[in-house]
């Protein structure tokens, strides 16, 4: 039944469960599932332009062994932005942990522009306190200092928060180290496939299975508050749209009408989903579904394919793919209907639009001389810039600070993910240790 609650025996793992799979027990504090689907992230382009900085190993003021390499996490987060190149600890002439110990000339010699020092001390209830200071090496003074508390099992998350604070102080842009990504991992594909919708930290750690199936899962879409995720599943041999609550694993089947049910996207207020339905007459069209009262409204008509809708962040327009002109291009329409307006004019194939968080551009799948690549289209001037250089790139998704895109690509015959900055200068590859990864979706800033 459409919209019915569906808490079934289907394997959906919530944060409390610890599954034993193939005899491999899941250990660790959080529910990860081991090396099987952890991601490996490497910078593949643009590292040379990053500003040299120093993240000095933080001091630990407790008695027992150092609980976590907090400065290592911070340095990796800053490196991954593509804007900073942390120097190795072995190059450091001194290793201060607080401002009074800093000798600026030891850092000017190395050419580092920014110096970050800190200390971790045990706090109340088994928790911690992270103290850090950022220094401008050439001016010889502190930019910022702060003390960030952490819970007993929240030290890594606190390190990410510190990295985000540092990034914002240095660039004016909010960092995304504390965000999450979702993606689909497929193993055993040719013979006996297993599809998993996985959620992980932005650095690939803490991977957690949200849904597991022997049939295809696609198009994950985060709700604006990051608490729910919509997706398309073929578990019942036809495309159906589900909305799942991440914390509990409980889910609703929100659309299983005859024909295609796909391409879910959330309205900015989280109250509606746009969907693609075909209602078994073969005409794919864009609809909106009000989740509170199940009212379905049809936005597009006609015998051509209309799909892949995405809402502008101010809710003024819904962008979508249409081949009414013969081949896929991007159009937009008001959420309450009306005439659709074409938005892309360069290239013979533009599909799968995603609107940037600042509403200034679209990321699209663009056919560039026979290669499917990610491009950004400036909404005001319709200027198109191709950012990637693969043959089969797809599924672009903006980080919530709008600086970088994650997308799916193929590398050595396997599906992998990659990121690219919106100016095209820095690129990273993200590989899974097993199987294919695809369909990435970057989650929102944490709401708290």
């Amino acid at each position: 039944m459409e919209g019915s609650r569906n808490q079934e025996s289907f394997q959906v793992l919530s944060s409390g469960s610890k599954p034993i799979r193939n005899g491999l027990a899941v250990l660790l504090l959080a529910v990860t599932f081991g090396a099987q689907a952890e991601l490996q992230i490497d910078i593949t382009r643009g590292g040379a332009e990053a500003a040299p900085i120093a993240v000095v190993p933080f001091g630990w003021l407790g008695d027992d062994a150092t609980p976590y390499d907090v400065s290592g996490v911070i340095a990796a987060d800053l490196r991954r932005t593509g804007r900073f190149a942390p120097i190795p600890a072995s190059d450091m002439l001194q290793q201060p942990t607080r401002g009074a110990q800093v000798d600026y000339k030891d850092w000017r010699i190395l050419g580092t522009e920014v110096l970050i020092v800190g200390e971790v001390s045990p706090g109340a209830n088994g928790g911690y306190m992270i103290q850090f200071q950022i220094f401008d090496v050439f001016k010889g003074k502190q930019i910022f200092g702060y003390r960030q508390p952490a819970s007993a099992d929240g030290l890594r998350a606190a390190a990410h928060r510190v990295a985000d604070m540092i990034y914002e102080k240095l660039t004016g842009v909010r960092g995304v180290a504390s965000t999450r990504i979702a993606y689909v991992n497929v193993t055993g594909q040719a013979v006996n496939p297993t599809y998993r919708l996985i959620m992980a930290d932005a650095d690939g750690e803490n991977a957690r299975i949200l849904v597991e199936s022997d049939k295809a899962i696609l198009s994950p879409a985060w709700s604006p508050d990051g608490r729910r995720i919509a997706y398309v599943s073929f578990e019942n041999d036809n495309s159906e749209v589900f909305v799942q609550v991440i914390r509990t694993g409980g889910r609703d089947k929100v659309s299983s009408r005859k024909g295609i049910n796909s391409a879910p996207a959330w309205s900015p207020d989280g109250r509606q989903l746009s969907l693609t339905l075909s209602k078994n007459n073969g005409n794919l069209d864009v609809y909106t579904l009000d989740l509170s009262n199940q009212v379905l409204r049809r936005l597009t008509q006609g015998g051509t394919i209309e799909t892949e809708a995405d809402w502008a962040p101010d809710g003024d327009f819904i962008y979508f793919t249409s081949d009414r002109g013969g081949a896929p291009q991007i159009y937009r329409i008001r959420p309450d209907g009306g005439r659709a307006q074409r938005v892309t004019f360069e290239g013979k194939y533009n599909a799968r639009p995603r609107v940037s968080p600042d509403n200034s551009m679209l990321a699209v799948v663009h056919n560039d001389r026979g290669n499917y690549r990610i491009a950004v289209v400036d909404l005001e001037r319709t200027y198109t810039q191709v950012l990637t250089d693969g043959r089969l790139d797809e599924s672009p998704s903006f980080a919530p600070n709008g600086e970088v895109l994650i997308y799916a690509t193929r590398e050595n015959g396997r599906g992998s993910l990659a990121t690219v900055t919106v100016d095209g200068r820095v690129q990273q590859s993200i590989r899974s240790f097993e199987g294919d990864v695809r369909e990435p979706a970057w989650g929102p800033f944490p709401v708290n």
Binding site: Q189, A190, A216, L218, S219, F234, D237, N238, S239, G259, I260, S262, A263, T276, S278, N280, N281, G282, L284, I305, T307, E308, T321, D323, A327, P328, Y349, A351, R352, V365, N367, Y372, R391, L392, E394, S395, R410, G413, E439
Partner: protein
């Protein structure tokens, strides 16, 4: 489940009955007795025409299998259950039309038979748009079947987009085999 020998025997039986009805000789001069007509109560299609002449038989003589579809290995176009398409196209080739003509007529003769048309696309371009291509290809096939004699309630349609390739690979030889619609009887 029919095995090869059993279907051949039933084919010959159908042929023999046809031959007798039309007053022609059978292909190899033998009549075979068989229990019941066709298989499992589904009934054997007895055409009231043939491809002409006693020496050959056309798709019209093909009997019904357990899944309600045409018997496998009939040697006719009904054995072809896959229609292929050009890139980004949902147009059916003349070869495809010939195959679908036989299937449409089969469905027309066998109103209890049902078929599901599964539409697919190759992996290039965006995944959701490819779901649309698969759907449209399946609908194109359905339209032809309806024209050729099938009833709408005999046909269901599903699209798998690029999610269920027939052939894995990232070159045209794989892609061309994945741009397809498949007919699956009995669903």
């Amino acid at each position: 489940m029919n095995n090869g020998i059993e279907s051949k025997v039933k084919l010959l039986a159908a042929l023999a009955v046809t031959a007798v009805m039309l007053g022609c000789t059978t292909k190899d001069g033998k009549l075979t007795t068989i229990d019941g007509a066709g298989s499992d109560g589904a009934g054997t299609a007895i055409p009231d025409d043939s491809a002409g002449g006693a020496a050959t038989y056309g798709a019209g003589a093909v009997g019904v299998a357990a899944d309600g579809g045409p018997m496998q290995d009939s040697g006719t176009l009904l054995d072809d259950r896959t229609i292929f398409f050009e890139l980004d196209s949902t147009q059916i080739s003349s070869e495809g039309l010939e195959i679908l003509k036989e299937h449409g007529q089969f469905l027309g003769r066998n109103p209890n038979s049902t078929v599901r048309i599964e539409g697919h696309a190759d992996e290039r371009g965006s995944r959701e748009y490819n779901l649309g291509l698969g759907e449209r290809r399946a609908q194109s096939v359905k339209s032809v079947l309806l024209v050729q004699g099938a009833a709408a309630d005999q046909i269901s349609v599903v699209s798998y987009g690029e999610e269920r390739p027939a052939v894995f690979g990232s070159d045209e030889s794989a892609w061309s085999k994945n741009r397809r619609a498949e007919l699956r009887y009995g669903r």
